[in-house]
Amino acid sequence: MKGDDDTHAGPAPGQAGRARRGAMRGAGRLRGWGGVAAMAAACGLTAALTLVPLSRADLGSSAMSGAGSALGATAGTCQDPEASLPPSSGDGPSIDAIKARGKLVVGVDQNSYRWGYRDPATGRLEGFDIDLARAIAEDILGSRDAIIFRAVPTNQRIAALENGTVDLVVRTMTINCARAAQVAFSTAYFQAGQQVLAPEDSPVKGYDASLKGKRVCSAEGSTAYEALEKNSFGATFKDEHDGEDGDEDIHTVPNQLDCLVRLQMGEVDAVVTDNALAAGQAAQDPAVELKGKPFTTEFYGVAAKLGNDDLVRRVNQVLVEYRAGAWMRAYDTWLRPVLPGITGPPAPKYRTG
């Protein structure tokens, strides 16, 4: 339960016990950790623990790194964050509330090209995540349009669920142990990985030593930021007033797409984000490209408020059907042009017992 409090606590003081906890989960939210000691402790623990390599055993070893391996694993309690509740189409208190309202409120992004973005020509939200959200609304309320989209900044996804602003978050949200302690995830609906994006002729070659001395941009509260906080290879990735009133919003920005703006303006040298989102950025600027290989393996899930089990089961039920056909159609429509070569959705994993 303490984890829940941490979400809102903001920058944590560099207490020793906290540092350990922070190193393992949610370090990204603990921006403003000025303490070098705390950082050192976090890095040291990360290296020493050599946790269960992420959550899947099928990771290519080349994609692994000390930094990446620490993402999403809390020793002891959280071995397999992707395992979700078994599917069910039964109702429950949270589904009843949605039906009473007549609308499903979903937190989405409007800046992730091909995932959830505002089509400037029509002003409508479109994308892979949007299609999935509409499928869930159709299943619960019988209409694809019985839905209210709320744009949620990356670092507000969990807060939006906790304070009831939205019922669900369908927003390229990576499932990991830190977050699984605060929100309830559905089964995985997409596999992605963190990757570096830079101009074609950039000396940056990937998530490696070529980042040394470079300025790197990531979204506030993203897994990319957490990865950089664990190992930035000597790159600059923080703003002086992060999380304060005078936040410069140069190295850490509200949305990953803002990173592309900073990159094009020459204010940063590279961007770290999910390859799925980075592909969307590259599709908007032919002069940038993905560098190196994805250095993590992550899975996107639909998030609900912790405890809304009926809703999670229902979403899992929708996903069972979605994987059977609609998933591939959505992939063909939105993602294949920018993210080719994916043969199908990741298989669901369910919690036993």
Binding site: P120, I148, A159, Q284
Partner: protein, 468 residues
């Protein structure tokens, strides 16, 4: 050393010439002789002060000098105030108005940019034109402001900041447009970035510039209204001295009038009255310009700026769809700032209504108040529509042509523009009246001083001649 004693020596020597014709002028080149003349002059003066012609001579010189000094000081002090009044009318007030206009143009451009974005890939022509006009106005007024600003001042730095960031801002907006046209969400990201640049660099600099120009206006206004105490005091002294001289003449000669002295007294009195009346009128004009023009202009500008801020935030609320939150992460940032802007707008309008002194000024303000109320209602309606999940419906209620909050904003802006034009007219008229009250006074003071001094000398000479 050689010439220093020489020059002053010439004055008493020359003045004493008519009564002491036997004494030659001071020998020019030899210092001992010059010192002798100097010392001799003073001792003669002292000696003459014991005789009536000598006393008359001194009296005449003193009176003439007093009148001339009075004229000169009046001319100087009044010129100073007239220049300040002229600055108020033709320089600092226009510059203050320009600075307000720079701010308004920039905020309006930002609003138009966000509005055009909301309208879709094909930006409406009138929104585009509005943006272009705003940027052109801001650029033009910046050049004017730069030409009127001392290069080392704080305002010059703000103008430099504005000049530096304005092209960057327009560049970002053009990038946003280009991406929008291609159907890329990157356009929205650029628009956010442009808005951030506007609100963190451009608008604060424009606000500082406006404050500095307005402070300069206040200073010029104060200088123009300051009483010319020295002139007035001198005037009283001169008139009193002239009257005393005439009384002296009357007591000694039993003649009621000495025409020369009478002319000097009349000239000095006229000058004193002109000075007092002219300055009182000028003050009245400037006071009126201040009370009925400048104070109203200040709150109306504030109202207009806040209506713009509120409108920009209202647009951004729809653009961002809740993606940007306040620092505590609890409320929508743009919606909160919209509320703040509307609150300030209402407060400024209430103040403007209080200051409006005639129906021509009060009418547009009352109109604006009513439109603001309607705007608030429409905004609530649009918010409710959005909260109910009808984004397109809400969008139409914000940027639609009819019955939208955009229409309300345009109406408020038009009413405020009208009120501003009226108050600007009031200000200019009153301030020009004030400035006009000082017209001719410096020249008149010089002329009257010459007349008065001549009269005093002539009057005394007439008495002197009786001793020859």
């Amino acid at each position: 050393m050689t010439y220093a004693p020489d020059a002053p020596a010439a004055v008493p020597a020359a003045r004493s010439a008519p009564v002491a014709p036997g004494v030659p002028g001071p020998p020019p080149a030899t210092p001992p002789a010059a010192r002798g003349a100097w010392a001799g002059g003073w001792s003669r003066l002292r000696a003459e002060a014991t005789t009536e012609p000598g006393r008359l001579l001194i009296l005449g010189a003193v009176l003439a000098a007093l009148v001339v000094v009075f004229g000169a000081v009046t001319a100087y002090e009044v010129s100073d105030r007239a220049a300040a009044a002229d600055d108020v009318v033709s320089r600092s007030q226009p510059l203050s108005a320009d600075a307000a206009d720079i701010y308004r143009s920039l905020a309006d451009a930002d609003t138009a940019a966000a509005g055009g974005f909301l309208a879709g890939a094909q930006e409406p022509a009138d929104v585009r034109e509005r943006y272009e006009r705003d940027i052109t106005t801001a650029s033009r007024l910046l050049i004017k402001a730069a030409a009127n600003t001392d290069g080392s001042s704080r305002s010059a730095r703000d103008i430099a900041t504005l000049n530096e960031h304005l092209p960057r801002y327009t560049g970002l907006v053009e990038r946003a447009r280009a991406a929008n046209r291609q159907g890329l969400p990157l356009g929205g990201a650029y628009l956010r970035y442009a808005n951030q640049q506007m609100s963190t660099h451009l608008l604060p600099a424009a606000e500082r510039l406006y404050e500095a120009e307005t402070a300069r206006l206040d200073q010029d206004d104060r200088s123009a209204r300051g009483w010319p105490f020295l002139s007035l005091a001198l005037g009283v002294v001169v008139v009193a001295a002239l009257l005393r001289a005439q009384r002296r003449t009357y007591l000694r000669t039993n003649r009621v009038f000495n025409r020369g002295l009478l002319a000097a007294t009349v000239a000095s009195t006229v000058m004193l009255l002109w000075l007092a009346a002219g300055h009182t009128l000028a003050r009245a004009g400037l006071n009126e310009a201040r009370a009925h023009g400048q104070d109203s202009l200040k709150v109306l500008n504030e109202a207009r700026i806040n209506s713009l801020k509120a409108r920009a935030n209202e647009n951004l609320t729809v653009v961002a769809r809740g993606a940007v939150l306040t620092a505590d992460g609890k409320r929508d940032k743009y919606e909160t700032e919209y509320g703040t802007g509307m609150g300030k707008l209402s407060a400024a309008l209430a103040e403007a209504g209080r200051l409006a002194d005639d129906s021509a000024g009060g009418g547009p303000v009352a109109d604006a108040v009513q439109r603001v109320e309607e705007w608030k209602k429409r905004h609530e309606d649009a918010r409710d529509t959005d909260d109910a999940g009808d984004y397109e419906g809400a969008l139409a209620k914000v940027i639609g042509v009819e019955d939208s909050t955009g229409e309300s904003f345009d109406q408020v802006d038009a009413a405020l523009k009208k009120a501003l034009a009226h108050e600007q007219g009031e200000f200019t008229r009153a301030a020009e009246d004030g400035r006009g009250a000082l017209t001719g006074l410096p020249v008149g003071a010089g002329a009257l001083a010459v007349v008065g001094a001549a009269g005093a000398i002539m009057g005394i000479n007439r008495r002197l001649s009786e001793y020859r």
